[in-house]
């Protein structure tokens, strides 16, 4: 059908791209994680010292736990916001559906940084929220824990990832054939039972996809803690960033990156299999 030259011309550029910008960096990262830094310079000597440090120094484990905790909170909050929203839009929004859908999606077009700085402005000591609370005489001096806390990070990431959670759930709900809901009611199930027995099970793939999005993206986030998190909300990616930057310990940074990569990959693998098991069409 197609000539060899045509096939080569089509497939070689993307293959090169994948090799140079994906496989090679991964290989370099993997190799670095087994090297070490001595007297401020990189030594290409194979060893397991970086991984030993990771598993013996409690600091890293602590930060990782905090990161996982923040990512789990973000996932839970985005699901609690995104699922009802998707449900409402899919089943009850009627003619306003299109408009509401666009309103949910619009924030995705606004730069991540802009939204981060917006939260800084809202949550800061002389920010919009504190000003409002004092205006209402609910508080009498600025509340300091709004900004620079894990709470602020969860809030900002939830704001950013809720549309990502909403979209796959909405798509899953839209794909449920409506006669199934009528059949359920016809067989004696009220709204609640219909939701629990038909809608929820059939939306599991969307729910899993959304939750995976929110969790994996939050797990690797380093801008939110930088902008609104402060020292009490340092996440694992911030550690990696500082190891590659000021601390100049690329091998240790690479070792942490390899661990995160493995965790993320196994997570994606698991949810992918779960999604397959829960899809029936």
């Amino acid at each position: 059908m197609y000539s060899r030259a045509y096939k080569a011309a089509i497939s070689i550029p993307p293959l090169l791209w994948v090799c140079f910008f994906l496989l090679l960096p991964y290989a370099l990262m993997f190799a670095h994680s087994f090297w070490l830094v001595r007297d401020g310079s990189l030594v290409h000597q194979w060893n397991l010292q970086n991984y030993r440090a990771l598993f013996t120094n409690p600091l890293y484990f602590q930060v990782f736990l905090r990161t996982a905790g923040i990512a789990a909170s973000v996932t839970l909050c985005s699901l609690l916001l995104g699922y009802p929203l998707a449900y409402y839009l899919s089943f009850h929004a009627g003619p306003r559906k299109e408009l509401l859908y666009q309103l949910v999606v619009v924030p995705l077009w606004v730069s991540y940084l802009v939204r981060g700085y917006a939260w800084k402005t809202i949550l800061g000591s002389d920010g919009v929220l504190n000003g409002f609370l004092q205006y209402l005489h609910i508080t009498h001096e600025p509340v300091s824990f709004f900004l620079y806390s894990p709470f602020a990070v969860v809030l900002m990431l939830t704001h950013i990832y809720t549309p990502f959670v909403f979209l796959p759930i909405y798509a899953a709900l839209e794909h449920i054939p409506r006669p199934l809901l009528e059949a359920s009611q016809d067989l004696g199930a009220n709204r609640r039972a219909t939701f629990l027995r038909v809608i929820l099970p059939l939306s599991v793939p969307g729910l899993l996809a959304g939750a995976t999005f929110a969790f994996v993206l939050s797990l690797g986030d380093f801008l939110a803690p930088l902008l609104v998190g402060g020292p009490s909300a340092t996440m694992i990616a911030n550690i990696v960033q500082s190891l590659f930057g000021a601390a100049y310990d690329w091998p240790l940074g690479a070792a942490i990156s390899v661990c995160i990569l493995l965790i993320t990959a196994s997570l994606l693998f698991t949810t992918e299999r779960l999604e397959k098991r829960w899809s029936f069409r």
Binding site: P177, P179, L180, E182, A183, S184, Q185, D186, L187, G188, A189, N190, A193, R197, V198, P201, L202, W278, F280, R281
Partner: protein
């Protein structure tokens, strides 16, 4: 009026299971059902027959509770039905596209209605088995619906509805997605099943043959109004309107003039007791037969015509007879072998049934005297 209230002035007779009282339904400015009144008897097989857009499915959905009537009431066994949500109605539906739950296997699909009513586990198991045996699907209990054929899915949908022991089963064109052979087979199984379990079936179809074969009574709907309701034999032999006569079976519509007890209609004329004036008659093709040699019975109408076309279909053949003056009649006669030229035909005047003009003609009707 509150749901479940008993209304003495409307008390229904023991034989009436469901009563539809002056029900109308509009979607926006479109009136889909116009003042429908209808009774379904206990154990009856009633078919709602009509073209697409006649309102038959809407009427079914009103009874199931998926739509609310714009006006009118629906009662079942002295209980007002139309104010109840679908899940509180003692009716079950077999959907056109089956609507089996894709995430549940056959057994779980059939058990659904019992599960949501928290029926004891042991009872569920035995009733599911009974229902699956009834539709001959017991060996598929563990299968997913997506692995089943259309006919098999149809049986599961039937079992899933019947396991709840409804007093009335609603069937929305349940056989329309099946191929012709399977359809015939399912028709006869459905009829046998209905006889066996003795519950009332309200069956929606656009297929008049199906309606004739299955029903105790047929309700013919047209543009949201009830055109005629009668047993298949009555609706075929005594159609009330030209529309009914044309929709159910084939017919020759004859527009004639009655004068002094004689109907004149093109080449045809026969004696009648009807009063003078213009009139419309329906004469079924099988009512016309070839005049036998020397047949000279009194009280038989006769006419001559040239055979234009002969369509053979095994046991019988359909003749198109040109009677002159643009009048073409169709006759269905027992297969006799090739016929050509002019012949004499007879029919009994009693077979020419007077029908009323349909209030609104369907599309463009061919010229008078001409059959459909």
């Amino acid at each position: 009026m509150s749901a479940g209230a008993i209304s003495p002035q409307h008390a229904t007779s023991a034989a009436t299971l469901l009563e539809i009282r002056s029900v109308a339904k509009s979607f926006g400015a479109t009136q889909v059902l116009k003042n429908i009144s209808l009774r379904i008897a206990t154990g009856e097989f009633l078919t709602l027959l009509g073209e697409s857009g006649s309102g038959k499915t809407t009427l079914l959905r009103l009874i199931a509770g998926f739509e609310q009537p714009t006006s009118g009431e629906i009662w079942m066994s002295n209980e007002r039905l139309d104010t109840l949500p679908p899940y509180k109605r003692r009716v079950n539906t077999v959907f056109q596209i089956y609507a089996l739950f894709p995430h549940l296997n056959v057994r779980e699909n059939v058990a659904y209605g019992l599960r949501v009513k928290s029926t004891p586990k042991a009872e569920i198991a035995s009733r599911v088995e009974e229902a699956l045996r009834m539709v001959k699907m017991i060996s598929f209990a563990a299968a997913r619906p997506s692995t089943l054929s259309g006919g098999q899915q149809q049986r599961i949908a039937l079992a899933r509805a019947l396991i709840n022991r409804p007093q009335l089963l609603l069937l929305d064109e349940p056989l329309s997605a099946l191929d012709a052979n399977l359809r015939k087979q399912m028709q006869s199984e459905l009829k046998a099943l209905q006889r066996e379990i003795g519950i009332a079936f309200l069956f929606v179809t656009h297929d008049q043959d199906e309606a004739m074969a299955l029903s105790d009574r047929i309700a013919l709907l047209r543009n949201g109004a009830l055109e005629q309701i009668a047993s298949p034999r009555d609706i075929y032999s005594r159609p009330a309107t030209a529309y009914t006569a044309e929709f159910i079976g084939q017919t020759n519509l004859l527009r004639g003039e009655i004068n002094d007890g004689v109907v004149r209609c093109g080449a045809l004329q026969w004696k009648t007791s009807e009063v003078t004036g213009a009139a419309l008659f329906s004469l079924r093709p099988e009512a016309i037969r070839l005049a036998g040699a020397g047949e000279d019975a009194a009280g038989v109408a006769r006419f001559r015509g040239i055979i234009r076309q002969q369509l053979y279909s095994g046991a019988s053949e359909l003749l198109e007879i040109d009677c002159g003056g643009n009048q073409i009649l169709r006759a269905r006669i027992p297969a006799t072998g090739p016929l050509t030229g002019a012949h004499e035909f007879v029919f009994s005047p009693a077979e020419a049934v007077r029908v009323t003009e349909s209030p609104t003609p369907r599309g463009s009707r061919p010229a008078d005297h001409e059959p459909r």
